[in-house]
Each structure stands twice: as C-alpha cells, then as structure tokens.
Amino acid sequence: MGIRLLINAARFAVTFMVATVAVFIFMRAVPGDPAQIALGVNATPELLAETRAEFGTDRPLPVQYFDWTLGLFRGDFGTSYVTRRDITPLILDRVQVSLILVGLAMAAALLIAVPLGTLMAVNHRRISGILLSGLSQAGVAVPGFLAAILLVVVFAVGLGWFPANGWTPPGEDFGDFLRRVFLPVLALASVQGAILTRYARSAVLEIMSEDYLRTARAKGLGRTEALVKHGLRNAAIPVLTVTGVQLAALIIGAVVIERVFVIPGLGSLLLDAVGNRDLLTVQSVVMVLVAITLTINLLVDVLYTVLDPRIRKKA
C-alpha cells in the first residue's frame, strides 16, 4: 500500500510539472503582447517597452517560465497584466467559494444517489423502481441552468423562501450563507444526483447477481441485510470512480450555476479572465484546476486501496 501511494504521489508531481510546461507554452502561443493589450493600440513604443519590463515579458521565455513556476510553489501567481492587481488573493477567494459549492453539491448528490440507486436496483422489476428510474433519466436530461432557473422561479421569486442570488462567506454570517447556498447546491445536486443515481443503480444491480450475495443469503441473511453487509462496499467501487470524474468536471462546470446565482466562483473568474484577455489569470486558474483534479484523482486512488484489498496486493 505504501508503494502504491508513493507511485501515485510521484505521478501527481510529474503530471503537475508537465502541466506547467504545457499551460505556459499554450498561453505564450496565444497571439497578442500583454503590454499591448494592457495599453491599447495608441501606446508609444517607449511606454510599451517600459510596461514589458514591468511585466517581465521582455525576458527570455525559459526565464519567464521558471520565474512563474517558482512563484506557483510559493503560492504567488503574480500580478494581472490587465487589472494590475495581485492574482493570489483573488484566486484563493474564488477557490474557496467553488470548493464549498461543489463539495456541498456532490455530498448532497451522493446522499440522494446511493439510497435511491439502491432502491431502484432492489425494486428494478416493480413499478416503484421503474418510476424512479424514469425520474432519474429525466433528471439526467434536464440541463443544470434550467433546473437552476426553475428553482429560482419557484423558491425565490414565487415562494420567497430563499434569496434569488448572491454569496455570503460562511465565516461572515453562517445563517445567510446557508440561505444563499441552498438553491445553487440543490440545482447542482439534482443534476449530479440523477447521473450518480444511474451509476449507483447499475452498480448495485450488478452486485445483486454476484455469487457472494447468494452465499450470504444461504447463510441466513435477509435480502436487505445481505445487500448492506456484503453488497454496498463492493458497489461503492464503481460509484467512487464516477464521483471522482464528476467532481473534477464540476469545479469548472459549475460556472453556469454560478452565473445564474451570481456567485463569485472559479468558473466565473475563468470566464471573465478569458473575456478580458487576462492571460496570467487564465494561466493561474488553469493550474489551480489541474492541482484540484490531480488531488481528487489521488484521493480516489487512496480510497480504492482502502476499499479493495485486491488492489493492495498488486501495488
């Protein structure tokens, strides 16, 4: 198990380094001089040269790369060429918002998906199972922004139970945070939950026909007892895989929901930065996303090892 972890950590490091090179080259390949963008078309050559020196873009590319990478490791993303402000505090702020939003949404999705998927699998021949299955199909088909708008219309505008948009950090006013975060989390979780439910259903369905569940029943365990004691942990493995992939995709994919609810998340930051041609901010957000995705993969892998003893042996 130790060696598996080491290999994974090494893979993490290598992938991250490769990503820094790739991102840096792609960003420099984009046409447009940051100084020119910052100053506009009417800038004098002297001013341009001065600004380039200020940004450091007049130095050779390898120097710029190492400067940027070293900054990354110190937690310093540099100063935006467009807003002339420090990127680091901005990103920290946004990452926090995104992680809270997506984390809560994914947790809620799992809370919906695992029991519902199991129920659907157990009753897959009965009307209730078929109905639930149809409902989850519909959930998969509904786009996130539509769910979000519907929720706003019903709960914020119609019933007035929750504010329609905005964000309060949990440290500031926890009650307000909860009220504001409820609808966006629900919007994200309903779509993600529907997808995960499908996977949970098929995982449990597959487990149900496994020989060891029959063995458990032959020992005298009841249907539910056998499923809970012997089935769910086995079914958790494929569900975990999908959860990991979805989680990574959602960090940025939540941007639509962020827009609807006017939440200052990472996705919104990325979109704005792309719109403003704010190269360094885009570059920074992408690196943060890479780091988050790799961390999720690492965690999923560790969880595999915890769940499945067969993997431990293979290393």
């Binding site: 060696i3 080491l6 021949r125 496994e210 020989d211 060891y212 029959r214 063995t215 458990a216 029943r217 032959a218 020992k219 005298g220 365990l221 009841g222 249907r223 004691k229 012997h230 942990r233 086995n234 769940l307 499945d308 003893p309 067969r310 042996k313 293979k314 290393a315």
Partner: protein, 616 residues
C-alpha cells in the same frame, strides 16, 4: 428411522409459463448421501435453489418440501422463516469458490458471520475463535492465517475448504453441494471430495450432491437421481443406476462419460450409440487408490464387446496398428515441433521499492519433440505452465530463452510478419467456445476469416464453397453459416471453432482444453469429431488438458507438466500404467474415472459390511 430428514413431494419449479423442474420427489434420511446428476439445463441446480428457498425473482416453486425439525412446509414459507433455517439446519456449498466469497471481507469473519447470525456462539470473540477452529477442521494448513486472509489470497482448493467450513459451522442436518469441485484441479478435487465425505460422515449430515460428473457421484453417494429436462428419469442406489441403468438417458450419459470404453469403431460412445454400451461391472475389486489396482479393476471391468479382447492390449484409440510407425517416425524424420530448453519468465509488478521485482517462472527449461502425425498430450494442473507453452507454440508469446521450432519456423526472436507462416501451419481450438468467437460475426465470416486476403469478402463463391465444406466436416447444417454464435449450443460452438481452425489446412492442430466447458454427452461427440478430423486431414494434434481420461483416450504420447517443468514423458499407456515420477503418480491416482470409482465403491461397501459385522 421413521421420519426422513428431507421429504420433497411433487416439487415444481416454473418461470412463468416455462416449467424448469417437474414432479421432483426425494426422501433423504439422516446421514444419507444422495447424488443428483444432470447436464446443464436439466434443472438440478434449480432444484437445489428451490430447496434453499433462494429461487431468483420471477421463478416460483410449488409442491412440498419438509425438513425434519421444522414444522412447516418450506415451499411458500416466509423468508424470515427460511432465514432461520438457511445456514443453520440446511447449508449449501456453491460451485465457484472465488466468486462465492465476498472479495472485500476476510475469510475468518465470513465464517464467523454465519454463527453470529444464528446465535450459535455467545459473542464475537467466540465466533472468531470458532471460525479458526472450523478452518482447522477443513484442514487448511494455517487456519489462523487463513482467517486473516482475503479470499483472493487463498488458492481455489483452500477457498472451497473455507466455503465448506462456513457451511458446516452450525452443524447443519442437511448439506447441499452444487458442483463444488467442478472448478478445481484434479488433485485438489480429490482432496476436497474426501474432505466433504469425511465431514458429512462424521457429523451424520445428510448430503445432496449435485454434479454432472458420474465418477464423482460414484465416489461419494449412496443413492443417485438422474435428471433430464426438469424430470427425474431414474433413481436408485449408485450401484444399480451406474451398472444397470434402466433409462435410455442414463445409459447414454453413462456411455458418454466412460472414456475407457469404445465402440467397435474405436470411438467413444455417444448418447446415440449408447445402446451397444456395456456399463462397468464390478469384478472382485482390488485395493483402492493404488494405480496398479485401479487399472487392474479397469481391465477386469472392460466391456466384452466383439473386438474388445483384441483391443485390451492396445487401449490407445484410433488405429493401433499405425502406432509403432508413428513412434519410429519420430526418430527418423525431422520432428514437426521441436522445443529445446524453453524458459519463460514473467516479471510481476513491484511490491517494494527495494529489491528486484518478483519473477514468475512459468516455464523452467522444457524440451520435447512432436513427430508429424502424432497425437501429443500435454497434461498439467493450473499453474503448470501449459497455457504459456501453448501461447509460445502459437507464436503469441516469446520465449525468454531456448528454441521453439514449429513446422520449420523458429518462434524465438521472430518478428510478427515472420510468424504468419507459422500461424498458417498451426491453428488453435480454445477452451471457451463462447468467449473465443466474436459474438457480432456470422459463422460464415468467422470460419472464412483465416482465408481472407486483406479487403476480401467472405461471400465469394470460392470461400462460400470452402465454408460449407468445413461445416459439413464438423457435422453442422449448411444454414448455420448465416447465424451468430449465440444461436448455438456449447458443443456446436466448439464445432465452429474447429471448422475455423481447420479451414486454412494447417498441419498442426492445438486444442486447449476444448471439451472442459462441455457437457458429458457433448464431450464424447466433440472428441470423436476431433479424432476423425485428425485422421482425415492427417493432422498433428497437440492436446492440452487437465483431464487425464480425455488425454488417455485421445493421445498416443504425453508429457506431464508441473510447475513449469516436464516431470515425465512417454507413450500414454506407459505413463498411465506405470508412472515413475511422484507427481504423475499423484495425478493418476487423483484422477477419477467412472470405472475406478465404481471399483472403489464395491471395496468400501465390502469394508462397511465387514465392520458392521464386527460391531454386532
């Protein structure tokens, strides 16, 4: 004994309109051992599942099942009632020991669970201790270690022992076994069977043993029920049923499983030709277990067919007159296959940062030659390296060192395009007839594929003619050409595989356990077909199998492999009659044939009579 342990009356199992088991009756006394024989689809497993009350959804049972000590009918009983009986009064051992154990749970807790569930132990600690005790009672080498192991860390035989420990933990009155040894190696099978027999005798547990293998039944059951198409067609004592079968189906089954009897043409009996079959008779059984004894019994029991007396001295099949020629041919001409000092080593993944990764020595320096026209058997258990050898012969894998020449082509170091010639000369029929045929290809395309040039269609007149001819050769109807593999039975699929292998007119046919997945009656047909085709097309046959009976029937020379080495080689009869190596002796002694088991029975029953006499 007035009351039976188990009384099944008119059990009917049906799935909707379809009846799977019809009118099943059984009375089983305390400590009695009853065998339930049938081929796949006969309803034997369904019967056992119905007894346990574990029928799948949509399948229902009717009739009556009564188990002594429970005062109600098990048919239609509430599941909560059945839960108290399952694993307690009545337990079951399943076929595939790996999938029947929870892969994520240690073995000890899995055994302990059944005791905790039925509260036959006071607490968890006692359950854990009793679990180790149970694992010890099924003779696992290190029971405490086994209890801490996960199922994948045990071997197949050990897993089945653990299953048995689990089933016997609450000392059930009735044990159901569903093909418990079908997935095990020959030597392990014998050990597990002995263990089951010993365990149930010691505890006076009633045993219902489900199997397709008549020799297994002969070795452990008192009485036998034969099922076909959901009905019991014959019932009686093991002796009676296996030596004087009354029903045509039983006779057919018996004839087809008896690899030591051949008809006047030297072919195995099939269900169709069973009328001429003479079941084994028990003539003064000698001591059990020793090889010489077994074969003497076999000899004595050999059927007295018109030409049997002439064959007895040359039990090798096919054309015994040609055999000496083949033997001499091996020395005189260049051998068709020549393997010299073949070594194949695999590297395992690293398990530690330090030290070299573990190496698996699949083949540890083997040499042999196969002459043209020979029927060459390769016998070995799982892990013996026979599959690796096969892959290398077919050019699908490279030797680590040594030389392998197949029909003049050197495999070692050959590049992919150099192996094309070799693959034209050597074709394989694989074990699993379902898995080795592409489910989305029509039979026509499967069979003609080896002939096609790149981009060529399988529907040209020339190829259609060849495909039809091959189908005729393997006794399949011409309309089979346009069907898909799943529309055929296992035996038919294996015929398709054979047709595909032979269409390119190879000189060597390699058969990798081609009949191990087939039912007994089909097995005989496929073996006969294989034998006929080898003669008709002058093929050299390399036949890989764990089943000594099949190899003995089919092959004239054999090598015995164990742990990557050839431990013994020579003419088949010599190896079987007089094995020199310890491993070969164990293998021969462990392998079960109908006749040797019947002989063993007679011996045992005589012993029983003697001991009873002494007791009185």
């Amino acid at each position: 004994m007035s009351e039976h342990l188990l009384e099944v009356k008119d059990l009917r199992v049906s799935a909707g309109e379809r009846t799977l088991v019809d009118g099943f009756n059984l009375e089983l006394g305390t400590g009695e051992r009853v065998g339930l024989i049938g081929e796949s689809g006969s309803g034997k497993s369904m019967t056992a599942t119905a007894l346990m009350g574990l029928l799948p959804e949509g399948v229902s049972a009717a009739g009556s099942i009564r188990l002594a000590g429970t005062d109600h009918d098990l048919v239609g009983a509430r599941d909560s009632r059945m839960q108290r009986i399952r694993g307690n009064r009545m337990a079951m051992v399943f076929q595939e020991p790996l999938s029947a154990l929870n892969p994520l749970m240690r073995v000890g807790p899995q055994v302990a669970e059944v005791m905790l569930k039925h509260r036959t132990v006071p607490n968890r600690r006692a359950a854990a201790a009793k679990a180790v005790e149970m694992l010890a009672s099924v003779r696992l080498p290190d029971p405490a270690e086994a209890a801490r192991a996960f199922p994948h860390q045990l071997s197949g035989g050990q897993r089945q022992r653990a299953m048995l420990a689990m089933a016997l933990a609450n000392d059930p009155a009735l044990l159901l076994c569903d093909e418990p040894t079908a997935a095990l190696d020959v030597t392990v099978q014998r050990q597990v069977l002995d263990l089951i027999l010993e365990s149930v005798s010691r505890r006076s547990t009633g045993l219902l043993f489900i199997t397709h293998d008549l020799s297994v039944v002969a070795s452990i059951c008192d009485r036998v029920l034969v099922m076909n198409n959901g009905r019991v067609v014959e019932e009686g004592t093991t002796e009676q049923v296996l030596t004087r079968p009354a029903h045509a189906y039983t006779r057919g089954l018996l004839a087809a499983s008896d690899l030591e009897a051949t008809d006047s043409g030297g072919r195995l009996f099939t269900v169709a030709s069973a009328a001429a079959y003479v079941p084994p008779k028990i003539v003064s059984p000698p001591r059990r277990g020793t090889t010489t004894g077994t074969t003497t019994a076999t000899r004595a029991a050999r059927p007295t067919l018109p030409d049997a007396s002439a064959r007895t001295d040359h039990p090798a099949p096919a054309t015994p007159a040609e055999q000496p020629d083949r033997g001499r041919g091996a020395g005189a001409v260049e051998p068709l296959i020549s393997v010299r000092d073949l070594v194949r080593t695999y590297r395992r993944g690293r398990t530690s940062l330090f030290g070299a990764p573990a190496e698996v020595q699949a083949l540890r320096g083997i040499s042999f030659e196969v002459a043209a026209g020979q029927r060459f058997g390769v016998v070995g258990e799982s892990g013996s390296g026979k599959s690796t050898l096969l892959r290398i012969l077919a050019g699908l894998d490279q030797p680590t060192s040594g030389s392998v020449k197949v029909a003049g082509n050197e495999v070692a170091g050959a590049r992919e395009n150099e192996l094309r010639q070799l693959r034209r000369e050597l074709q394989i029929v694989f074990q699993d007839p379902m898995g080795s045929l592409d489910p989305r290809m029509r039979v026509r395309d499967i069979i003609t594929e080896p002939l096609l040039l790149p981009g060529e269609s399988a529907r040209t007149a020339r190829h259609a003619e060849r495909a039809a001819e091959m189908l005729r050769a393997v006794d399949l109807p011409p309309e089979a050409l346009d069907r898909f593999p799943h529309q055929f039975s296992g035996g038919q699929r294996q015929r398709i595989s054979i047709a595909r292998a032979l269409i390119g007119e190879p000189r060597i046919l390699v058969a990798d356990e081609p009949v191990s997945a087939l039912d007994v009656s089909v097995r005989a047909q496929v073996l006969n077909l294989l034998s006929d085709l080898v003669d008709r097309y002058n093929l050299t046959l390399v036949f890989v199998s764990h089943d000594l009976g099949v190899v003995r029937h089919l092959c004239d020379n054999v090598v015995v492999m164990n742990q990557g080495l050839i431990v013994e080689s020579g003419p088949t009869e010599q190896i079987y009659e007089d094995p020199q190596h310890g491993y070969t002796r164990t293998l021969v002694a462990s392998s079960m044939s109908l006749r040797s088991e019947m002989a063993g029975r007679a011996m045992d029953s005589r012993e029983e009579v003697t001991s009873q006499g002494e007791g009185q």
